[in-house]
Amino acid sequence: MQLKRVVITGIGVVSPLGNSVASFIDGLETGKSSVRFMEEWTHYNGMRSFVAAPAELKDEKKIPRQNRRTMGRMSIFAAQASEQAVADSGITPAEISSGRTGCIIGSTMGSAKSINDAFEIMLPERDLTRLSSSMFFQCMSHTATVNVAQYLGLTGYLMTSAAACASSLQAVGIAYDLIRLGRQDLFLCGGTEELHPTVTGSFDILFATSVKYNQAPQKTPRPFDKDRDGLVCGEGSGIMVLEEYEHAVRRNAKIYAEIAGYSTFGSGSHMSQSDKKSMIHCMSEALHSADIKPGQIDYINAHATGTPQGDKEEAEAIKEIFGASVPVSSLKGYIGHTLGASGAIELIASLIMMEKGIIYPTLNLKEIDPDCGGIAHITGPVRKEINTVLKNCFAFGGINASLVCRKNIY
């Protein structure tokens, strides 16, 4: 069976740097950090990290109430990013409702705020009578996918990937595979996530968060830096339109890149600790599936969140495969770790880097930790022709995902 080819023809972003691709990219270009002190979290007993990268919830009332009522914060972000991606791609409402367009939007879980609100209403007196009808639809794991599908009238293949920080890259990977197999012509795919003290708290109790920069929020996270001390949570949504190549050519669509390869594997070794060996396996398989050699990759967009152990393992894994020949940067210093949305948001940034021929550097990387050495860190903007990109995501649960895109299609 001849597998189909898959291209990216639309992108949309809600990010801590702004609620459009343009404002997001502008923030990256100007080296802006969106991390701030979270005064409102200081009353949580046991919390040590009071920094985060919030996005702005705005224009939500443009979504009709009947659609909005079942959307938590993260689904609103996803709906807005999806609308941008659809508009950017130029696909029509008829195509969206044809049954040939699917939707896969990943997230760690349902809306954290809605889940907390539901239990706060219900648990004190074990009383169900004050729960609203829409609460469950905001809390369920596939909330973003189905809210976007209902809002846009999308009738194709619907599912949700839930792989923590690899969720959105898995969403793109699954959509890629399904289009390759000919099951759908188009997919809206990506990820979404929302900030909540319980989300940061879940990392905080594992000592994975940044705690030393509460008084200097913009200096953290510091991927690969010798003074890094943990991750900073962000929020937002990145959505892409994936399209079967011939379908895109027939309608003369703008093509950002072709998805050339993808892989996802488990580490089978530890629930929360990254491990070099499984990262090497994942990246190597992505290259293999793209049928390209390590030297043909022009840029690696790293997962690197600023944790001491995770950055070290990723740097060592990259060094093992690529040495110091391929430029590497992480975008977490600008927007924090947007968790389930990070793969898609950062892949979108990588597509724009390809388009513009520029690599955005790792913000806050002032002194490379010797533990993370031996790879080509980018610490200032670099002009470079970029044809191929490798994007990594490494998640809790030992789930790794890597995706390869190429600009020049032949």
Partner: protein
């Protein structure tokens, strides 16, 4: 509670919970056809009315017969009166 108070509180529920413009809230407005309330909204309407009036109407059969805003005003008045009678 006066009839006017019942009307004001009920209308406020429709304005705040369902974002319906004040001008549309006349007694004969059909809550499904004119105000766009659907099956999910009915659940929230009951929750909001219970909270606003301090009553428990979730299991009242009569809720199913409500069609217009006037039906709600009458229903609430009836429940409130019954409650007041019982408290004497």
């Amino acid at each position: 509670m006066t009839e006017q108070e019942i009307i004001e509180i009920t209308n406020r529920v429709f304005e705040e919970s369902f974002e319906i413009e004040k001008e549309k809230l006349h007694p004969q407005a059909h809550i499904f056809q004119d105000l766009g309330i659907d099956s999910l909204d009915v659940v929230d309407l009951v929750v909001a009315l219970q909270k606003s009036f301090g009553v428990n109407i979730r299991n009242e059969e009569k809720v199913r017969n409500i069609r217009t805003l006037q039906d709600i005003y009458d229903f609430i008045a009836e429940i409130k009166n019954e409650k007041e009678r019982q408290s004497y």
